[in-house]
């Protein structure tokens, strides 16, 4: 029993950074922009969050710094792709490499230091319930925030005028412009949101999950988050499900290594990534369905006709 709870707790902790990064990127892609720089924004968020937490001893300040750092990275991406009309794919790749390098530079003095434990929700009685207590009422605050974000984004896109406008811009930016919506302005807003979410996901790694700083510690999670958005067919609920699926596989393969399963550890480590590919192939086998869900203007640069 104890073991199952531990595994489940591990899954939540492994999945949460993916939830943050994926939900942010999902919103960005809904507006018709593909930001491949998620990995870079995450790692910059990770070092910003970690360093500020160490320097100030304040977790809130640390998380805030990660949000700002991620958003600034996204702002750079937005300036290049939205204002200067640079190619989104190339710019996104460059942003990832830039972020990895920048974080390594900033993090030189922080290797080996450790942050304390992130505050957790503590409701008398409820949090002390056996088994479900720790799982449902004893998580750190960011876990609840990630779930609320997913619900919020889903609600925003389905129920609000702002969400409808962003979906419309992702679907046909020329028409949106002709009706009179400021396409580039909305895309900047969504990009900032996406960057903030990625930064938050990075901070979750360095401040909550481990909590210490190591170079390249995002280890491809940004790419997984990008894959999740496609796997989820641009639906927030499915992105959450996907994040927990991949988190689950990551944790299970770790535990199975612990049990001494007769498979080389390297193969088990591949498992979450292989699952990503497999799921993507299966999902995208129905081309019509994917086309229907995908924002039609994804990666297309928008230039207002004069």
């Amino acid at each position: 029993m104890e073991l199952i709870v531990n595994i489940l707790l591990g899954i939540v902790i492994a999945a949460t950074p993916l939830v943050f990064a994926a939900i942010g990127e999902l919103a960005v892609e809904k507006s018709g922009v593909l930001n491949l720089g998620v990995e870079g924004m995450m790692i910059v968020g990770a070092i910003a969050g970690f360093s500020v937490t160490i320097e100030t001893g304040n977790y809130l300040a640390g998380v805030g710094a990660a949000v700002v750092a991620g958003a600034l990275m996204a702002l750079l991406f937005g300036f290049l792709t939205q204002s200067l009309l640079a190619n989104q794919v190339a710019t996104g790749l460059a942003l990832t490499m830039f972020g990895l390098g920048l974080a390594a530079l900033l993090g030189q003095d922080y290797s080996g230091k450790a942050a304390g434990n992130f505050p957790k929700l503590d409701i008398p009685v409820l949090s002390d319930l056996p088994l479900v207590g720790a799982l449902l009422f004893g998580q750190d605050y960011l876990v609840y925030l990630s779930i609320l974000l997913v619900i919020g984004v889903s609600w925003f896109f389905r129920k609000t005028r702002g969400g409808l406008i962003i979906r419309a811009i992702g679907e046909n930016h020329d028409a949106a412009h002709a009706i009179g919506y400021p396409v580039v302005f909305y895309r900047y807003l969504v990009l900032l949101f996406g960057g903030a979410c990625a930064g938050l996901g990075g901070a979750y790694l360095s401040v909550v999950q481990t909590p210490f700083w190591a170079e390249g510690m995002t280890a491809g999670r940004g790419w997984i988050a990008l894959a999740l958005v496609v796997f989820a067919a641009w639906r927030p609920g499915r992105a959450l499900l996907g994040a927990y699926l991949f988190g689950g596989i990551t944790i299970l393969q770790l535990h199975s290594q612990g049990f001494g399963v007769e498979v080389e550890a390297q193969y088990l480590s591949m498992l979450p990534y292989l699952a990503t590919i497999a799921v993507l192939v299966i999902i995208s086998s129905d081309r019509l369905k994917v086309k229907l869900n995908a924002p039609a203007c994804l990666t297309q640069p928008f230039r207002a006709a004069t």
């Binding site: 005028r161 419309a168 046909n172 028409a175 009706i179 009179g180 004069t306």
Partner: protein, 527 residues
């Protein structure tokens, strides 16, 4: 007040320049309450710029506008909408993956979008006979239904002036008739309509007044019903035009045969092709008529070889099965193509004209040998095309995108015709080009057929098809569950341009066009 009411909208001295062009030059006219006012002019005459200024998308460099006597200078479309100006776009500003209600909500002010929007959509659409289901996905609607969405969206805002930019270019004749009834009714209720078109017969039938633009200037104003289509055209063009001559030719042997061609669409809102059967003979021009979205794109793609047919013998060229051959193999076998989109499909925008001839004429004109390009030869060929088709360009080493629409289209058509194909397939060969270039291109297509080639023209412009075709076939989607069996395939002479559909209905063949309304994407097509 001196007894004469102010006009609804008055423009005085409106001017707007773009780099290198004066799009609007000192334009003045006015639109009265309840009037249907035509704005007539060729492509590039400045109509689009002018309506963008009225709708607040662009701002004028000089000049003033007054609305009901008050100064009017909208900075944004929302400001124009707040003043009661509505706009029906030429290329619909709709979102395919959203529902009708969502599309409408996006186009009106947030205050209007609140509350029971669906109920009001149903109410307005019923009142004007424009039936609409608010919960349907726009991608599933026919073109005529999509225009209804735009009109209902406009009407929900209680407009005083509706601007319509080429509203009939994508409609069936029946849909045009319905649209005109709606417009006359609106005008009767006091709403003014600014109607932009270059279709002269429509303007004569519908509009109370016309302002004619040429080269950014107002060149004439008139009462269209007192003019003839010819006199309107001459005012619009500033020159006299002779219609393309079509003497009847005796068709030779079958060059291109579509044998029960069926292809499935690869996009969620595409139309499948089902059992298309058609023959094109040497020496004749065959037109394929049909409203946009009835499978023309897929048919073109299957003919070019971008989408392969299921069976090789579904497409036969001179008796040879080419249904599963790639595009270059087909060119080699003797069939050339003019796709609908000039920039991006028929020509690569950023490549020079020389490079663009290599892309399509490499095989037939021997512009490469052992994988090496023969550039001098390609340049010579490009030069020949430019000379013979009087393409206005700064030089063959300039990028394709630097050419104007009409000139690039002449270049593309010329590039294909000068390869001396056995069969030429052209999709919308004169779409969006000026009348002079259009006449030139039509003449060239007819000449090609006269020289013995088989020419297949896919077009939504019925007037064009009547002008150049020997026979016309119709591509249309049938109602779900019923497969159309009609072959509306008859000599072009058998139809008159005025009421082609009415005549076809009276004849033996069932017109496919009658089914295109309410066509679903699952609908099937047949010639």
């Amino acid at each position: 007040m001196n007894g004469v009411p102010d006009p609804l909208l008055r423009l005085e001295g409106i001017a707007r320049a773009f780099p290198g062009v004066l799009a609007n030059d000192d334009i003045s006219f006015s639109v009265n309450e309840g009037e249907i006012h035509a704005l007539l002019g060729e492509n590039g005459a400045g109509k689009s710029t002018l309506i963008k200024i009225i709708y607040g998308v662009l701002r004028p460099d000089a000049g003033t506008m007054t609305l009901r006597g008050k100064p009017f200078a909208p900075h944004r479309p929302s400001e124009a909408r707040a003043e009661g100006i509505g706009m029906i776009f030429q290329h619909f500003s709709l979102f395919e993956a959203l529902t009708v209600a969502e599309n409408i909500a996006l186009g009106i002010s947030p205050e209007l979008a609140r509350g029971d929007l669906r109920g009001r959509i149903v109410e307005v659409s019923t009142r004007y006979g424009l039936r609409l289901d608010p919960d349907r996905m726009v991608g599933d609607l026919s073109v005529g239904q999509r225009q209804r969405v735009e009109i209902v969206r406009c009407l929900l805002q209680d407009p005083r002036l509706i601007i319509m930019d080429e509203p009939t270019s994508v409609l069936t004749p029946q849909e045009v008739e319905t649209l005109f009834e709606t417009l006359r009714r609106l005008a009767g209720e006091g709403c003014s309509i600014l109607y932009i078109s270059h279709k002269l017969e429509e303007i004569r039938a519908l509009c109370d007044h016309a302002t004619i633009l040429r080269g950014g200037k107002v060149v004439a104003t008139c009462t269209p019903s007192e003019e003839t289509a010819r006199s309107l055209a001459e005012m619009m063009l500033g020159e006299t035009l002779s219609p393309p001559a079509t003497d009847r030719r005796t068709p030779g042997d079958v060059r291109l045969r579509l044998n029960e061609l069926s292809v499935e669409a690869d996009s969620p809102f595409g139309t499948d092709l089902a059992d298309i059967a058609l023959e094109v003979r040497s020496g004749e021009v065959v037109g394929i008529a049909g409203v946009a979205g009835n499978g023309q794109t897929l048919l073109m793609s299957a003919l070019i070889g971008e989408t392969l047919a299921g069976r090789p013998d579904a497409i036969q060229l001179n008796g040879r099965p080419i249904g599963r051959m790639p595009p270059h193999g087909r060119r080699k076998a003797g069939i050339c193509f003019v796709p609908e989109e000039r920039l991006g499909h028929a020509a690569v925008p950023d490549m020079s004209l020389t490079e663009n001839v290599i892309l399509s004429a490499r095989v037939r004109k021997g512009l490469s040998r052992n994988s090496f390009l023969n550039l001098p030869r390609a340049a010579r060929y490009a030069g020949d095309v430019v000379a013979r088709f009087s393409v206005k360009t700064a030089g063959i080493d300039h990028a394709a995108r630097s050419l104007s629409g009409g000139n690039l289209q002449k270049f593309v058509v010329g590039r294909e015709i000068m390869q001396e194909p056995s069969v030429l397939v052209a999709s919308q060969p004169t779409w969006g080009v000026d009348a002079g270039a259009a006449a030139f291109i039509q003449e060239a297509l007819i000449q090609l057929a006269r020289d013995g080639a088989a020419v297949l023209v896919i077009s939504q412009d019925l007037d064009e098809l009547f002008a150049i075709s020997d026979r016309i076939a119709v591509i249309a989607a049938g109602p779900p569950g019923r497969r159309p069996h009609a072959r509306a395939d008859r000599p072009a002479d058998g139809w008159t341009a005025a009421r082609p559909i009415g005549l076809a209905r009276g004849g033996g063949a069932r017109p496919c066009l009658g089914w295109s309304r309410g066509a679903s994407p699952q609908g099937r097509c047949r010639c």
